[in-house]
């Protein structure tokens, strides 16, 4: 049986039995939501959804599919915001099958059409689940970005000397952010010396070292000299055992040592007052 014709028969059936099906569906959904939404609200939501589903099935309206998707996504978001689980939202959609089945079983007609219809409703229900996941993913990504921004300050230590105290692991995403902020600050402040402090970086392996070398390389292209400070004794041993070479980049144990070196390069001296 042609899909188009089957769906159209189903659409006609849904139209003819509108009140019974929507009524049944609303009851099932309200029961599933355990009274957290009023029956009238539920019925209103479902009425909209129902007409869109009929329009989509009858295949006469090109925009119906897009509108249906948009309404489902909206429903998903609202339910998530109101504290419902994605399963509860999906079940609301799935229970349309049950509402329709009651009538189809009675009439013992339209069974093949029902099967095709059932699959369509399954897809719709799954869609609400996907929308929920996608919204969650976006929140997580946004939070991760905020965290990275917050933990990458660039501070001015003295005229022409800036410092980047790194805290946490240095992966490639973080390195990109560090490079961008460091270089922008170099341009804005006109600094010619940058100290990259890694006291707060828990492990320095070959990958982290490569990221550091990249960052120094980029800063040098802007004419800035760099010093890496905060090399803890354990880290020093790891670096040597891994055979990592920092070449001509000055490295110091503490930020204070690095500042002293930078001041010396700037031709400055700290003397008692």
């Amino acid at each position: 049986m042609e899909v188009g014709a089957s769906q159209q028969r189903m659409a006609a059936f849904l139209r003819d039995n509108h009140d019974k099906v929507v009524g049944s569906w609303s009851e099932l959904v309200a029961a599933g939501l355990r009274g957290r939404t009023s029956p009238q609200e539920v019925r209103r939501e479902l009425e909209d959804l129902y007409s869109l589903i009929i329009r989509d099935l009858s295949g006469t309206d090109e925009n119906a599919a897009g509108e249906l998707r948009a309404v489902l996504d909206e429903l998903s978001r609202n339910r998530a915001r109101d504290g419902f689980t994605p399963s509860e939202t999906a079940l609301s959609v799935f229970s349309l099958k049950e509402a329709v089945y009651e009538l189809v079983a009675e009439a013992a007609d339209l069974v093949p059409e029902y099967l095709a219809f059932s699959r369509v409703v399954d897809d719709l229900g799954l869609r609400t689940f996907e929308a929920f996941s996608a919204a969650r993913e976006q929140i997580i990504t946004d939070q991760a970005t905020s965290m990275m921004e917050l933990s990458t300050p660039v501070v001015r230590l003295w005229d022409g000397i800036i410092a980047v105290p790194l805290v946490g692991t240095l992966d490639s995403a973080r390195t990109q952010l560090v490079m961008e902020k460091l270089l922008e600050t170099l341009v804005a402040s006109g600094a010619d010396h940058a100290v990259i402090d890694i006291t707060g970086v828990p492990t320095v392996d070959t990958e982290v070292a490569q990221h550091l070398l990249k960052t120094v390389s980029a800063a040098r292209l802007l004419g800035a000299e760099c010093t890496i400070s905060g090399i803890r004794p354990q880290v020093a041993q790891t670096i040597v055992s891994l055979g990592i070479e920092f070449g001509d980049i000055a490295t110091k144990a503490t930020l204070a040592d690095a500042l002293a070196l930078a001041l010396k390069h700037a031709g400055l001296k700290v003397v008692p007052a």
């Binding site: 990109q176 490079m179 961008e180 270089l183 922008e184 170099l186 341009v187 006109g190 010619d192 990249k214 390389s217 980029a218 800063a219 040098r220 292209l221 802007l222 004419g223 800035a224």
Partner: protein, 117 residues
Amino acid sequence: MDQVPILKIGQTLFVSIQIDLQDESVMLLQEDLAAELAATAATGVIIDITAVEIVDSFIGRMLATIGSISRLFDAETVIVGMRPAVAITLTELGLSLNGVRTALNAEKGLALLNGRD
């Protein structure tokens, strides 16, 4: 093909690259600079790339080559005004521009050249 003008101020040659250069123009600049260095006994070259949005390996190599050529004439080259996005991209490309010095702007570049005595 566009010819990039070379200014001489004191002992320094100034080049400011303002537009998206085509490969032939890049080669022409290299030749022109070599000729100027030979003719004027300039001791420094400042190449201002503040307006340059893209530096690929070809232009990068040109800059490094100019550095080598000027050294043959006992002159030093300083590249100034590299944009952060360009610096990050060059680093990712793996071009380190060894042999040329860099500075944030022409003023600092000049200070660098004059300080070398």
